[in-house]
C-alpha cells in the first residue's frame, strides 16, 4: 500500500504512456484532463439540478401554504411523490421509462435527464424547507397584508416571501451541498462525472487509491466552495435584528 504512483494522472488514457507535461495535446487526453472534465460535469449537473430544484421546490412550497385545499393537495402530492422514490430509481425512470412514454425526450442527452431527475428529487426537499420557512412567520404578517388590501399573490410577493426566502438560506445550503453529493448517481447512466471517472479510471489503471483520493478530494473541495458561497449569501441577506448564528 505504501508505494504511491501519482504519475497515473499523467498517463495518456489511450496507450498508458506517461505524458511529460501531464496534460495531453493533439486530441490525446491524460487521466488528469479526464479528471478535470469530470469535475466540470459534476459541477454542471449539480448547478443545473439546483436551479430545477429551487424553481419547483419554491413553487410547491408556496402552494402548500395557500388557503386553497386543491393547491395544498398538489404541493403535498408532489412532495410525497418525489421524496419517497430513491434518487437512483428516479434517474432510471427518466432515462429508461419516460422517453418511452414521451418520445421527443429520446433526443435529449442523458446529462439533461439526470438534471431533471436530481432536480425533481431535490425539489421535494426544498418544498419542505420553503413551507417551513413561510409557516415560521407570524400569522399576523399574512393577515396584515390581506387587511391592507393586497391580493393573496401580492401578500406573498411583498410580505411573506421576502422574509421566508431569507430564513431558508441555511437549510437550503445543506440541500445544495446534498445535490453535489447526489450528483454521483449520474454514473449509472454514463454521464462522465466524477464517480463515473473514478470507476472507469480505477478499472483501467488499477491505481484505485490514488484515483479515489483525487475524486474524493474534489467532492470535498466542491462542498467547501458551495458552503462558502452560501455563507456569503447568508451574510448579505440576513434579516437585521434576527438572532441567528452569533455575529
Amino acid at each position: 500500500m505504501a508505494n504511491w504512483d501519482w504519475q497515473v494522472f499523467c498517463k495518456n488514457t489511450v496507450d498508458g504512456e506517461v505524458v511529460p507535461r501531464c496534460f495531453g495535446d493533439n486530441g490525446d487526453i491524460t487521466y488528469l484532463d479526464w479528471l478535470l472534465s469530470a469535475w466540470g460535469w459534476t459541477a454542471s449537473v449539480s448547478a443545473l439540478a439546483l436551479l430545477v430544484a429551487l424553481a419547483f421546490g419554491v413553487l410547491m412550497g408556496i402552494l402548500r401554504t395557500t388557503p386553497s385545499k386543491a393547491l395544498v393537495f398538489i404541493g403535498d402530492a408532489w412532495t410525497e411523490l418525489f421524496r419517497n422514490i430513491p434518487v437512483l430509481v428516479q434517474v432510471f425512470l427518466w432515462y429508461f421509462v419516460i422517453p418511452e412514454l414521451v418520445p421527443p425526450l429520446k433526443q435529449v442527452p442523458s446529462f439533461l435527464l439526470v438534471v431533471l431527475a436530481l432536480g425533481f428529487f431535490t425539489s421535494a426537499r426544498v418544498s419542505e424547507q420553503i413551507k417551513a420557512g413561510i409557516q415560521s412567520l407570524p400569522k399576523g404578517q399574512r393577515y396584515a397584508g390581506l387587511a391592507m388590501g393586497l391580493t393573496l399573490p401580492q401578500t406573498y410577493r411583498y410580505v411573506l416571501l421576502p422574509m421566508a426566502f431569507r430564513i431558508v438560506v441555511p437549510p437550503l445550503t445543506s440541500e445544495s451541498m446534498g445535490i453535489v453529493k447526489n450528483s454521483s448517481v449520474a454514473f449509472s447512466v454514463s454521464v462522465a462525472e466524477l464517480t463515473m471517472f473514478a470507476r472507469q479510471a480505477q478499472e483501467e489503471t488499477s491505481r484505485g487509491i490514488e484515483i479515489y483520493l483525487a475524486v474524493t478530494g474534489l467532492y470535498y473541495l466542491t462542498s467547501i466552495l458551495v458552503y462558502q458561497v452560501a455563507k456569503l449569501i447568508e451574510q448579505r441577506v440576513r434579516i437585521p435584528g434576527q438572532t441567528s448564528g452569533g455575529k
Binding site: P86, S184, R199
Partner: protein, 225 residues
C-alpha cells in the same frame, strides 16, 4: 393510448417475482435493518465521544463524522469495496461489503441525530443522576439516553427511510438488491420499462407507508410530551 408503446405486465407472475425480486427485497431489508441497528449503536457511541468534553476523544469522532458526511455515499461504497480486500488480504462479496459500508456510513448520520437528542435533555437530568449516586455510565444508560432516544425516534425513523432508499446505491458494486432484482427480470424478459415502473411503485409504496407511520408516531410523541 395512441402512442406506439404497449405496456405489458403479464410476464410479472408470482413465480417471476419470487425468483427475481424477493431475494433482492430480502437483501435490501436486511441491509437496512443491520445498518440501522449497527448505525444507531455506533452513532450513539460517536455522539458520546463528541460530547465527552475530552479533546482527544472529541476530535477523532468529529473528524470521522464530518468526513463521512461530506463524501457521496456512492464513493464511500466504492472506497470500502476497494479497501476491505486490501486490508484483509482476500476478496469480499459485494453484499457483505455493502453491509459493512452502510453500517459505518450511517453511524455518522445517526451520531448527529443522537448528539442533538442528548443535547436536548436538560442538564438537570444529568445532575439529578449524579445526585442520587449514579456514575457517568449509569446516568447515561438509565436517565439520559432513554429520553434522548425517545425524543429522536421520529428523526431516527426518517433517517432509516432515507437509508432504505439509499440501499439502491449498492448498484455501484453490483450487489443483488431490490432494484437489481427488477433490473435483471427486465433484461431477461426484455421488458425494462415495465420492471422499472413496478420497481418505482414498490419503492414508493414502502417508503410512503413508512413515512406516514412516522408522521403518526410524531403526533403521538408530541402529545405525551
Amino acid at each position: 393510448m395512441a402512442s406506439g408503446l404497449q405496456l405489458d405486465f403479464s410476464f410479472l407472475t408470482a413465480d417471476v417475482l419470487a425468483s427475481y425480486v424477493s431475494k433482492g427485497l430480502w437483501f435490501s431489508v436486511q441491509l437496512t435493518l443491520v445498518a440501522m441497528v449497527g448505525g444507531i449503536v455506533l452513532g450513539t457511541l460517536l455522539a458520546l465521544l463528541r460530547l465527552s468534553g475530552k479533546k482527544w476523544l472529541e476530535v477523532p469522532a468529529a473528524l470521522y463524522v464530518n468526513t463521512m458526511r461530506s463524501i457521496p455515499l456512492v464513493m464511500v461504497i466504492l472506497w470500502f469495496f476497494l479497501l476491505i480486500p486490501l486490508l484483509i488480504g482476500r476478496p469480499m462479496g459485494a453484499e457483505l461489503s455493502a453491509v459493512i459500508t452502510f453500517t459505518l456510513f450511517e453511524a455518522a448520520y445517526f451520531a448527529e441525530i443522537m448528539r442533538a437528542g442528548i443535547q436536548s435533555i436538560p442538564r438537570g437530568q444529568l445532575h439529578a443522576g449524579y445526585a442520587v449516586g449514579m456514575n457517568y455510565r449509569q446516568t447515561m444508560q438509565l436517565v439520559v439516553l432513554p429520553q434522548a432516544f425517545r425524543n429522536m425516534l421520529p428523526v431516527l425513523m426518517t433517517q432509516t427511510i432515507i437509508l432504505f432508499q439509499d440501499t439502491s446505491l449498492v448498484y455501484a458494486i453490483g450487489a443483488y438488491d431490490l432494484l437489481k432484482g427488477f433490473e435483471i427480470a427486465g433484461k431477461n424478459f426484455n421488458r425494462p420499462v415495465e420492471t422499472y415502473l413496478v420497481a418505482t411503485v414498490v419503492y414508493f409504496a414502502i417508503c410512503f407507508t413508512l413515512s406516514m407511520l412516522v408522521k403518526r408516531l410524531q403526533k403521538k410523541i408530541a402529545i405525551i410530551r
